[in-house]
Symmetry: D2
Subunit: 441 residues, 4 copies
């Protein structure tokens, strides 16, 4: 099993995957081969940071000293998990709003409040920083941390653009610290089990992947209208990274990159007001790979802002064996009522803090292992860039009503996106006579 490429692994997923491994089709020998396959570099000719560098490590005996930056919901969640972990110590909480910083810090014994990350490094010995601040601040905070030799975990996306993401990884590499991006599906027991089942060949070669991400609860319309809120970058990236990581597994051992060959997307608005403001609150994204024997796959992503029935998170992978493996939804309770109208169950799990509680805990533990020098972040610079590039391609496809194709320039190993912007008049294509005749009255 090629676990090394994808998941944050570890004990927590063991139980879940037992179901799937109990009747593995791979012979032991074949598995051994697969396990032994070294992780090939994926795009770049230059060796990847994550496989070769010597990282600054702390001894396992000492709890890892962590500063958390940013007081939103994720900041709170990360602080809670750090407080619960036996391997970490929450040293500092940073928020530009002093009262927010003080309030959260006061809830954790030994944690001090700061308004600037620089001040933390000036006064404390910090091993690692977890950045939950708004995305525009990520690049500076990452650089500050790297210069202070602190390892970095950052909420997705790593930075505002693919270029910025690459730069962020580069600065961390220069200062010999790890940078990891919190795509929590990588550490979720169920998503990880499905990815492992696919890597183990349980469905054959994947041919169709269908994911659903319908957020819950819905944000206020005013928020969507005013803040824009692009579902491709905000929501779809989680599934994009997850699907790309499975493709990467499939291509492991080949020299091919895992970027899709084609992206098609369609955004919709649930109200006229949103539509007139150009805001999508639901969308479909299609990713296509057509590389013959190596990879032939179509993935469809269904995303929406406001499910009414709870937090809907699913994926299904169907392959050449005619099998499928699925992440199914998590119920919000264990209650059923049977009456003369049928069987009724309550809504799905409320939202991400409940659904991904285990994944957030595992993400932390895996990051601590990276900080200690025992592991390497799974989300590489290329992975993080590609998730953003594909999300951007989807946005452009939807906005410009076109297909976006990826091509590679062999001279400089660059990836290009090609599409027809709507600002140009569409070219007149020859009408297909057959069809035209068919529907005339």
């Amino acid at each position: 099993m090629r676990r090394g490429v994808f998941c944050c692994g570890g004990e927590l997923v063991g139980r879940t995957t037992r179901l799937l491994s109990s009747s593995s089709r791979s012979s032991p020998a074949a598995s051994a081969v697969l396990e032994a396959t070294p992780q090939k570099k994926v795009i770049q000719r230059a060796p990847e940071t994550t496989t070769t560098k010597t990282t600054t490590t702390t001894t396992a005996e000492q709890p890892v000293a962590i500063a958390v930056v940013g007081g939103g919901r994720m900041g709170e969640i990360r602080c809670q998990h750090i407080a619960r972990s036996g391997g970490a110590r929450l040293e500092a909480f940073v928020d530009v709003d002093p009262s927010a910083a003080a309030s959260l810090a006061s809830r954790h014994a030994g944690c001090e409040a700061y308004v600037a990350l620089d001040d933390v490094f000036a006064t404390k010995k910090i091993d690692a920083v977890w950045i939950c601040a708004p995305t525009p601040a990520h690049a500076d905070l990452i650089a500050t941390s790297a210069r202070a030799s602190a390892h970095v975990a950052v909420e997705k996306p790593v930075a505002m653009s693919a270029v910025d993401i690459r730069n962020a990884y580069d600065v961390c590499e220069q200062h010999n610290v790890h940078l990891t991006c919190a795509f929590q599906r990588r550490c979720d027991a169920s998503y990880a089990a499905v990815a492992e089942a696919v890597a183990d060949g349980r469905v054959g070669a994947p041919r169709s992947i269908r994911s659903v991400f319908r957020d819950h609860p819905a944000p206020p319309t005013s928020f969507l209208r005013d803040a824009g809120g692009d579902p491709f970058h905000d929501i779809a990236t989680h599934d994009i990274d997850y699907i790309l990581s499975m493709v990467k597994q499939q291509l492991n051992g080949s020299s091919l990159d895992h970027h899709p060959d084609e992206v098609w997307a369609c955004g919709t608005s649930s109200t006229r007001e949103l539509r007139e403001n150009g805001v999508y609150d639901a969308a479909t994204v299609v990713l296509k790979w057509k590389r013959g024997d190596a990879l032939e796959l179509c993935a469809t992503l269904d995303i929406a802002r406001g499910s009414a029935y709870g937090y809907d998170q699913r994926v299904e992978v169907y392959g050449t064996l005619g099998n499928s493996v699925c992440v199914t939804n998590q119920p919000g309770s264990n209650v059923a009522l049977n009456d003369n109208t049928g069987t009724h169950r309550g809504p799905l799990v409320h939202s991400f803090p409940q659904r991904f509680d285990q994944a957030f805990a595992q993400e932390l533990e895996f990051f601590l292992e990276c900080v200690r020098g025992n592991a390497t972040p799974k989300v590489t610079s290329h992975d993080a860039q590609l998730a953003t590039i594909v999300a951007e391609a989807a946005l452009q496809s939807a906005r410009h009503d076109t297909v976006v194709k990826f091509t590679r320039d062999d001279r400089n190993d660059e990836l290009h996106l090609r599409y027809t912007p709507t600002t140009k008049p569409p070219r007149e294509e020859p009408t297909t006579r057959h069809a035209a005749a068919a529907v005339s009255a």
Copy 2:
């Protein structure tokens, strides 16, 4: 509720839909308005056959005398349902193979075997014909039946091309007999209930429809390789017609046609042999409607030849209320085993004869009502043409690696498909600098 547009309705679906109707959001007044809305013509300026013609009817007291043509699996199934129905009498079975004809006829008391449909009309009084012969024979058999004043039901597709389909409907109209196409989802209790729930506004305006049709059991590879076997026309048309019929419901009362504005598709092959022979055995189809307040919707269809786990037939409709309504899969048994690897259930229902048994019975009963003059077929000439046109567009999209767009010529009310065939060299599009920069090493 606009049931008139879509389903074959009737008693059989009553029980299923009770769940959904029990808490309908539509006020009684609103429902009444909807029910009273006359069925508007959909594309053509000329009035549709189905709403105005006077049909030849038989008295309800007499069983309808039926001839079945074609001895494949569907022929057998139709004969069985006719034999079980109190309202029909199987008078004749026609197959070009005399022994096949004799064999099947011998299993039904009172049924005689023929090798040609003309001979049936020469010797028997026949009210209706059910055509299960191979598609290339449909057009002639329909014309023969119409000329003999027999109503016609035909397995999908009605004919080989949209033009032939229109001609088939025209000849039936000229001879004042009904023609209906057996898209059985229209009569399936669960598919009908979902369509009705959507029509009733239970999900709001639909924004995303996701269907799955994975056939079971898989045909032999040799069959696929030699017979070609196009999954768009063979399989996807069922979901295409079903989805289009729901769109038609949404547009009911407007002058807009329900054809999609855009079709994108991708076909894959499960083996190198199939790929080298240009045979897809799995595919994804995307249909897109972007008409502002009137209709904004993306549908994704997942189709495959050979599910390993039983007959997989699903659809899910998500709308602006944040609700979804789904046709879920039908288990093949009611058995579960719990052991130390988890919970195990058997495969899904075996195949279409089991899954759609109720739908086939209901299709027959509804057709008999049409023959008796009490009802009008739901699948109109335009519906049948459009299903074929969209399937063809999907095939062209997959083959030519392009998007197919539908445009309407206002001068003559013709529908055109526009796309870029791959025989032409792709035009050089300006590279997006942003993205290109992002991924360079």
Copy 3:
């Protein structure tokens, strides 16, 4: 696998049991041994009719000529299944009400109506009779059939009392015809698969069996009040026979009988009116076997007249491996609605004609095989008697508020029931001081 003891077997259950047989713990050798184990006589010292007699058979080529007696719902269902079967011909339908007889007969080509079974034999050659008349008429109809050398299938119970049941079997044996009782769980694919899984040792030795039978739709209260309607004999016998047949499998090869050692039951009434009329419309029955290594098992049966949510038919067998195997409920449709109150599905399958359609077909086919001399009825005289005796014991337990114990008289191999009727004053038992003290104020 000891399939021979229990189920009506055959092709129909093959698919369902594949789930369970795919990872059977039995080695091939062990299975062979089990298959080869001859069916031991179960109670009586005298050889059982079913294993040794030479039956009157018809050639397989000729359809079996059947008369159906009794025009209730089961009569109709049996006629339909006979009409659909390729191996049988419905020759006659008998009902004491001439118009009922004529009405049903007219719906089946070649079937003639009669008011007395004797008249059928006087005018037709009949191979077998299916008796669906009211229970009090069973004994005479069976005897009439046997004397006319016609094999007999009869709806449960075979006759009004265990004595009458034995006599009915005896008369059939004397006339060398088969008698079988229609306990349809024996032929239901799911119930059969569970019984086979238990026989195959998939749960280990069974320790707990829990069954549910909640009928649907509910009969009118007036019917229950006036007709009495004893849920133990009317409803629970199906589960009693099913559970006893699994116990018989477990004891196969031993000289022990499968009767329970103890029966405890409690009946309840849903309204005061029913209670005042002594009518139970729900009940719990407990069966206990305590025979050390040979058999240690408690079964609880939950029965009710009127489920609101559809036809509820379940069983669960838990064993010493810590595994369980279950018959789960059959949904009435494949529709789900997700909204802000949760997930909603419609009621379960409507009632027995829908739920047991496959079982009724299989029962007929197996009976035809018996008539043809290729098989032997699975429900033996002893089985049929015991189902009635246990139902009666449950009734007495509930009525007399006591436990009923079974003991065997070794002198004459008789089975005795012992219990304390409520007409006797309860004996004063010593109060347990410990408990009494505990709850005093």
Copy 4:
């Protein structure tokens, strides 16, 4: 809704119960009446402690200072929940083993280790004690706490016998502190929602309750053999208390006690070794109430030590409306694999720490509310006694192969258990001639 009687209530269960409350049959007026109904005393003529006393309270602003006693798994869990709660401060951890005490204390900032509870009170200001020590130590620890004016929560059972339980409650009442017993179903969102649905009349009057408690993972056989391990007191008490609490709700407003009228039980052993040592590792318990219009109900409890497929915790309540409401099992993951043998899911949730995490948190919060004087424990002295008495009755029923009946002595309001010990020779009952005849050969 009579929430006051049963559950620990509060915010956490709100979401779950939304499903059920959305279509409540109770009119708002009726609900108001029910809510306003004062909690009647249940058995004792004397007013219940819990409704009238003035408790020692702490101000809400100060975290409640807690000592935890006992270092088993529950001790760890309670410490974790206290550490996570904003309203409590873990001041001391007590274990007779100094290293165990030190180890656990060291994991919680501010928590000190002790080997005796007396020493804690001598050196710290403690508001409340949570007792997780072995049951034999409970009585002394409770008395010690009460004398130090500390409120007490204790793992079940409160003490070794019903008498000891009453004494424990009495000593707490004398010292004006609360005593509560941790029956966690009372605080589990799903169990609470089901109890509330029953109280709200969603199923009508309950007629059948079926619960399952199959523990996971299985303890070693040697543990069971040597430590005895009585499943009635160890396992079944949770369901007994839960079911009794629902019965108490039903009787609310009447003067009747909720003790069952009859208890029947059967224990089984999964191996010969256990059987020969008199150890049951699975059992069935039946509770019966027959009080006419007031209460007519049969409850069956299925308990087992070692489920192989995860932690199986279910209950189902069926009532006079023909409806049922259920606690269903919690899956252990969100993964499904579909292959040619069917659909496979992993085991259920692993064990009680996972399944009841929310309940343990809610139990703590509710206890803190009691400590603050804002609430009263739901498990009364009588409740705690009765759970133990019924478990003991089940044990006696199984051991003595008899039914245990409860009778009340009106002279002194004492509850008596009556049953026939097996040491006495069974009385010869008249054989039922009918049945005996039926089965003779």
